[in-house]
Subunit: 289 residues, 2 copies
């Protein structure tokens, strides 16, 4: 099957942008990919054959593109959106992979008035690690891929959107249409909250540290190691997410603190059993055998 | 190398007891293992060759044992300890695998006055799953194995203890001597707190559930799935742990709730960066590359 897009510009060739490039390479070897990132990253991407060409700036990267894929931090994305809107070819689809959607989509609504079309997106496919070295064509496999539509009548019927949907499916992901408000609420609960819960847990453990015996961390078994996987995530990425989803995340953290306090006050009552049963049910949904 | 113990009684042949039996089988095929558990579990253990013999009660199981290995829930262990103390052969070593140690060791101190020797233990090798079907000889491999000594002069020099230490190392675990107070403090932070944090996180996610779209859980990616691994744990086991470590666990939960509230109040300040940096450091200690 030929790619629905012949020339693709990828702005930000880190974990997500690099993985998207590798997935394109795998399924559509004929696609021409131009990358834009910091110079050493671009060089590595070129040397590894991830991109065909490195561009010195966003404007050059997108000049000929049928598809512009923005996989940059949220704040950088917002800084570049006006320029991308004015400089992208009129026939192009511009989409992003930012972890929060309200601010980016609101800005895009203002900027994309004619010519290129903007489609907000968010592949639910991160890792606690980052960078091109962690990129893989398989990262999207089995992942939900959120696409944003504010139209209650349904997603846009533009052929570029249909083409991108087809591409998303080809790289193994499952498209999910949501409005930006719903996306930011849901990801606050299921992605941003777990991230900060893992940071908080790690901080409590670290603060208890006994220099002599390296307790309690020295007794860590597999369970807590899994709970601390997200504690390896980088602040540089999460700062933007926290700031751009402050209301939802704040409410979610408040609920978590209250739930923990409720468990604390009920360690020897049946409330603890109720909490385990609810958690077991969710575990069974998320980890089917 | 011959086993330092020829006849072993395993009380409770679930995940830990069954795994201990399988590890013995692997390294010391000549050892005779008598199991005690509910009848269907014993039958399965016998059919799988995990035990040589099933006993109808603890008294029969331990009658001839050189080593008595208690891998029962904490409350059952405490119910049985007086009987085990009075009925175990005088030359035997009795050890347990309970997840909290103060209550069990205090009771053992009263009960084991002559004859059999008691050694409190806790292999840091659980899983969120349980039962004999999950048992594996490899579960102890690389795990810390806490042994309890209250003597500031050092661990006991009894040859039975030396023999058990050697056995623990043979099955791949690393013995760590702690007093019961220190053990219960450290495990509250690094095992019991992560367990309840995972339960609380799952409860918050489950309570937000939108019936129609199954959001937010339907967007769950790998990160949150890892954070929710412990949410599959069984209340039946954790009830005893929570109740027998109430003071330490309550304090740990309080700290976690406070830390989460601190993050909530500082989502757009440099305090968030500090929290990430501390967490990243712990992550790097627990997950060396």
């Amino acid at each position: 099957m030929p790619s629905p897009f012949q020339r693709v510009a990828i702005l930000g060739t880190g974990l997500i942008g690099g993985s998207f490039a590798l997935a394109l390479r795998k399924h559509f070897p004929e696609v021409h990919i131009t990358g834009f990132d910091r110079e050493p990253v671009l060089r590595e991407a070129f040397d590894r054959g991830v991109i065909n060409l490195g561009a010195p700036d966003a404007e050059h990267a997108i000049a000929q593109a049928d598809l512009v894929y923005i996989a940059l931090p949220i704040s950088t994305t917002m800084d570049l959106l006006p320029e991308i809107a004015s400089k992208a070819p009129g026939h192009a689809l511009v989409t992003d992979a930012g972890s929060t959607k309200r601010k980016i989509c609101r800005l895009a609504e203002e900027d994309f008035n004619f010519g290129a079309m903007f489609l907000g997106g968010h592949p639910m496919a991160g890792k606690e690690t980052h960078g091109l070295s962690e990129a893989s064509a398989e990262i999207f496999s089995g992942a939900k891929y959120v696409l944003i539509s504010e139209d209650p009548a349904g997603p846009p019927t533009d052929p570029r959107v249909a083409a991108f949907l087809s591409l998303v499916r080809t790289i193994g992901a499952e498209p999910v249409w949501l409005d930006a408000e719903t996306h930011d609420w849901a990801t606050a609960i299921v992605s941003h909250l777990p991230q900060l819960a893992s940071i908080a847990l790690a901080d409590v453990i670290a603060e208890e540290e006994d220099d002599e015996l390296r307790l309690p961390a020295s007794l860590a078994a597999n369970g807590v190691r899994d709970s601390l996987r997200l504690a390896g995530s980088s602040y540089d990425m999460w700062r933007d997410i926290a700031i751009s989803n402050l209301d939802n995340l704040s409410r979610a953290l408040d609920r978590l603190a209250q739930t923990i306090e409720h468990l604390r006050a009920n360690l020897n009552s049946r409330e603890l059993e109720k909490a385990f049963k609810t958690a077991n049910r969710l575990y069974n949904v998320l980890r089917p055998e």
